[in-house]
Structure formats: C-alpha cells, structure tokens
Symmetry: C2
Subunit: 398 residues, 2 copies
C-alpha cells in the first residue's frame, strides 16, 4: 500500500500538536524562573549565533531577489547584525516584564466558607501565523514563553531558512533552561499542514493571525479554533464645533501622516459645519503638503452638521479599532467616549496611541480587532486566560 | 420572476440582524435606569398576561403530546402559574443585581499625561440558541437586557408558541420603558434562518449555545461567529493518600449522586492506592445504595499509585470543566490547584459548586467550556467586553 500525501500531512499535524500539548503542560507546571532563564539564554545565543543566522538569511534573501520580490519586501526579510542585536534586546525586555501568570484577578469568600480565587493561567497552545519579518519569530516565541504558552510558529515561506535558524537557537535555550524544546516549534510544511492545524481545536487553543488581509481572511474561513484577528482599521477623527483648531490640526496631521500605513492611522476626517470654513482650508493644505491625497464629497465625508451626525457616520463606517474627537466641550467629550463603540476612543489625542507600548504594556502581541477575549492593544495579559481555585473544608451542595 | 426561498431566508436574516444591531446601539447609549424599568415592567407584565401565556403553552403541550414526546419532555415544556411567577421573580432578581456596564476595570496615567481607562461595555448582539424549557426565553432576554445587549432568541420549535408569547410580553415592556423593542427578538423560521444567522459575523457578536450536545456541535460547525460552548464535563474526584476518608465519601456522594445529569457531576473517581483498601469498599457500597452503577478496571480507572498518576490521568481524560482533590496534605493541595488545567479546581469541596449562583454571581448565563473570554461559571460580567477610553490634552505620537 502506498502512503497517501494526506496521511503524511496528518502525521505531521499530529506530531506537532501532540508535542505542543505536552510542552504546554510542562511549561505551566515549571517555575517562572525557568522561563526567565530561557529568555535570557535565548538572547545570549542569538548574539552568539549571529554568523549562522546571517548565513541562513542570506539564502532566503538571494531566493527572494531571484524571484523578483520588491526592494521593500527584501528589506523586511533581511537580517543585519543591528537587527539581530535588536531581537536579542527585545527578548531581554520581555524577560524583565512582570509575570502575569499566577496573578490573582479577584478573590472572595462565600457564606458557606468556600474561598474562591480567579487566577491567571496560560492559554495553552498558541498558533501564530505571520509574514516576512523574521523578528516576529523571536518576538512571538518570547511572548509565549514568558506567559508559559507553547507556540507553533508559521512564518512566510520566503523566510523559512531564517526562521528555522532563529527557532533552533531559541529551542536550544529552552532546553538549556530545563524546559521542553517543543515549547517552541516552527511549522515546516505548506498550506495543507496549516489547514490541518486549523482543524485541531482539540489541541490548539488560539490562533494569532498577523500579516496581510488576505492571509487573515483565509485563516478565519478555515479555522475551527478561535482566531485573534488583527485587521486593518477604518479610523475617524471628529473635529467638534468647540475644538481648539490648532490642536485639531496637530492631531489630524499626526493621526494621518506620521505613519500612514498602520492600522491606527485615520481614514476619515469629520468636521463640524460651524468650524469647517475656518478649519478645512488650512487642514487640507497641510495634508497635501504632506503628500496626502484628500478625497470626498464634502456633504457626506468631511463636514457634519452635528455631533449626532458624526456619531451616526462613525457607527456606520468605523471598523471599531480607534476613533478620536477634538473638543473643548465636556458634554461632547462624554458622549463621544460613551457612544463610540471602538476598542480605543480618544479625546484630544491622536489615534496613533492605540498601541501596546504607548498604553504601557511593555510589549505588544498585536492590536486585536476582536470584541471578545482581547480587544485593542494586546499585552502579556492577553496571552493568558484564568481558572478558579476553590478551597473548602468538606463542603457539599445541598 | 419568482422569489426563491433562499432570498426569503436572506431577507429575514437581514431584517433580524439589522434591527438587532440598531437596537444594540440604542441600548448602549440609553441610561441604565431605562433597562431596570424594562425588567421590572417585564416581570409585572408576565404576571398580568398569565392567562395568555398558559393558553399559548397549552397549544405547544398538546402538539408535543400528540407527537408522542416523553412525559419528562412534556413536563419541561409545561408552564404553570407557579413557573410563570418564578420567571417574573427571576427578572426582578436580575434587575436588582449591580450593573456591570460602565464599570472601570483598570485606569492609569501615562508619563505623557494620557489618562487611560479600561471600562466594561456591552458585547453588542447576542444570539442565544436553546431547547425546550420556556423559562430560558425570559431568563436569556433579561440577562442581555440587564447588560445592554440586544438578543436574538432561538428556542426549540416545540415551544414556539410559548416562546413567542413570552417574547411579546417582554418586548412590550422594553418599549414601555422607552427602549427599542428589537432589543428582544424571537427568531421565527427554521434551520435555514439559523444557518443564515450563524454566517453573519458582521452583525452578531457572540452565540451562546445551550441545549443538547448534538445541537451545540452543529452550531459550532456552522458558525463563523464566536460560540460560547456549554459542553458536558468529564469531571474527576481524586482521593489523596492523606484524605479525611469520611469527608471524601461525603464529597464523592454529593459530586456523583446529588444531581447526576448535570455537567459538574463527577464521572471518574481516582483513589490513591494506599487508602484504596480502606476507602473503596464502603464508597462503592454507598454509591450502589444510591443506585449508581460503578464501573471500571481498577488498575486504570479507580486506583492510582500517586498524585502524579492522578494528575496525568486527569490531563488525559478531563474535559477541563471541574476537578476536585480530597487531601489533608498542603503540598498535594497546592500541586493539584496549580497543575490541574480546568475551569474550576477544588480542594476538599464538591465539584457541584461549579455554578454561577454558588460562586456568588447572582445569576448564571451558563457554564462555559471555552478557554477564552468566559471560562467556567458565567455571570453578568461575562456578557460584557471592554473598551479603552483615553483622555488627552493634545498629545501626538512622535
């Protein structure tokens, strides 16, 4: 009998997920100190294996060039000594953050004497799917290791040799710290293996999708496992009748042009009709001076007759990531904060602050566009879940 | 041109979800007092429309009898004046609970002066799918109304007339309180409409699946929307070498026979080999005296050589809902609490306490077997999510 290719895929999926599951259990039981040791050791080994990492990366870069990839693509893919040093420092920074695992979220005593505590625990097995930048391999592995989650890393095929070299280095460090190397596994194999993994909701607890919109939509279609999405935002800035217009211009420019390609940059500018004549000409000129094309039917896109009209427009067009109001009016600020249903709602500040580091989380897993479990900027806590620990003295239920 | 049936289904799905979305926005903006008024009014109207509810129910009961349904099924379906009074009192109890919406989960100030608050907000639109007991209609609607979520209720077809009468009463109360009646909608239409709803992840934010295992698995297969599952548990009780054996017997009997059909009753009893000869004969006799059939290969199911063996057995066979240890040994208790990866882990208490009321939540949406968003007993908070409110004074990102 011939082995069918699909049974090879099944066997690979089974091996990866079964090892990850076992590693997750061992990680959860291991002391936090071992995870810290592994992260420190991983940073040291990344620096030590610089030459090997650069050589592996050189092969990926040559293949990408030969395949005619764009200069920007090749740049994202390329490792340099400085980028390896930045990866190593990133691991050390994650190691230095407070450990969220074991944190007591709430604790109380019931009238029958039961003592209940809700405590943070690892999620379990995390599958991270991402594209091109090899630093995501080190970063994702470190965030999961810090939170005692086993991780399956599926990077882009164009970075396979680089990712394999980074993952090998990390696995060595994990093993040296007395932890199971299967805590960090690189997924080798193509789309069929990924499709197989996305069906294993018995073994994998969450999928984190980072990368292009098409990749994320494909994952969402195929997955039986909860997916933490990182979709692009359609973000709004509303300039109220009472706004400080100089502040509004600063915030608008920052939110639009400081880094236009990111998810928390604004797409739509709404201006109260009472200030539009004073505000818009200079604002449009400033945006154009920053090479920003300004579009739109003034009656529906830019000028709004009221806060209510702005709220209605935002409710219809926002993707729920980040919106901001510029206003000096307390009632308008309170209504905007209350009624805009987005992950982050700003008064008199740029939407660009929708970010794990800017929020003070010390790390960023991503910016979730889910409503449940994790919404908006994700730090280490969002890589945990909780369980209830209940201590009694023989209580039974009547 | 003839209208195809599927376009009727699409139109129905579109109408239900579009009305629910608009209602969710209005509910989120309405004052908490209006929701309280609606719940109080709903209780009063349930009592006032007793005769109409009983009449609608009579029709459902007659159809179920004619269809040859079991006596237990017909009993679950039947309304009585006492059951209507219990429904009304249930609504009043939910109305009296603290409002989780608007609660500040955490708040902090960044070095740049940004003030960030993480606050609880409604999830949005909830689809609840359930079977036979009509009180779930009132209960689900009230829990969602309390938390400012719009709800789509899909009950069993055998209770359709009863559910419609209850939902009409509630909608009247919602409208009388000045809230949009589409906050509570009963889903009329069969499986095709449900399948259509489960595809609308653009309009529905979460599905709560209550009812039989088959129903829940079907929903999970079909849904593009996050599903909060309430699957049955495989729960374990481990009697440690150091256990107070009289306590162990009380807890085991309670966990097994007090209400054997529920998800938090135990399936597997594990006994340390050192106490098995003293413990098992009396325990098995007690279980049998309570008409409980005791099965199993003693080497693999009941007697374990150590705590480690018990932990390994539980890791393999538990569904992660609730497990308990009976022990007088602190180290064993701490290891069990730390290493058992279940929603609720008990020391010296019955697994039957895995329950929203027993945990002190004042209400129970269900007992989730998800790991993310809501794990274990769900109260009102688990019907909320959060957003970040950020107040600045003109900050831009550099």
């Amino acid at each position: 009998m011939e082995a069918r290719p699909s049974s090879n895929v099944d066997a690979r999926v089974e091996a990866l997920t079964s090892a990850a599951r076992a590693a997750a259990r061992a990680l959860a039981a291991a002391p936090a100190r071992a995870r810290g040791t592994a992260l420190g050791e991983a940073a040291a080994r990344l620096r030590r294996t610089e030459a090997a990492l650069l050589e592996a990366n050189h092969g990926d870069v040559e293949r990408a060039r030969a395949a005619g990839e764009s200069a920007a693509f090749v740049d994202r893919l390329t490792l340099t000594p400085a980028r390896i040093e930045a990866m190593a420092r990133g691991l050390e920074e994650i190691a230095a953050l407070p450990d969220p695992v074991g944190e007591t979220i709430a604790a109380w005593r019931r009238p029958n004497g039961l003592e209940i505590a809700q405590v943070r625990v690892p999620i379990g097995v995390v599958l991270t799917i991402y594209e091109s930048r090899p630093n995501v391999t080190a970063d994702s592995a470190a965030l999961c290791l810090k939170t005692a989650n086993a991780v399956l890393l599926k990077g882009g095929s164009e970075a396979q040799a680089t990712n394999a070299a980074i993952a090998d280095t990390l696995r060595g460090a994990v093993e040296a710290a007395g932890l199971p190397p299967a805590a960090v596994q690189l997924v080798d194999g193509g789309r069929e293996v990924v499709r197989g993994l996305l069906g294993r909701d018995d073994r994998i607890d969450v999928v984190i999708a980072r990368g292009g919109e098409q990749l994320k939509r494909t994952i969402l279609e195929a997955s039986r496992i909860p997916v933490i999405k990182h979709f692009d935002g359609i973000c709004h800035l509303y300039v109220d009748a009472s706004a400080d217009l100089a502040m509004a211009e600063r915030i608008c420019l920052n939110a639009k042009v400081q880094r236009p390609s990111v998810c928390n940059a604004i797409e739509n500018l709404l201006v109260h009709e009472r200030v539009a004549p004073r505000f818009l000409p200079a604002m449009v000129a400033a945006l154009r001076a920053n090479r920003c094309e300004v579009r739109g039917d003034p009656a529906t896109r830019a000028i709004v007759p009221s806060l209510d009209a702005a709220l209605t427009f935002i409710a219809r067009h926002s993707t729920g990531l980040a919106e901001a109001i510029v206003t000096e009016d307390l009632t308008a600020a309170r209504r905007f904060l209350g009624e805009v249903d987005s992950a982050a709602v700003f008064v008199n500040a740029s939407t660009r602050f929708t970010d794990g580091y800017e929020f003070g989380f010390g790390a960023e897993v991503g910016i979730s566009t889910n409503r449940l479990h994790a919404r908006g900027p994700m730090g280490l806590r969002e890589l945990t879940t909780y369980k209830y620990r209940v201590i009694g003295s023989g209580q039974v239920r009547s």
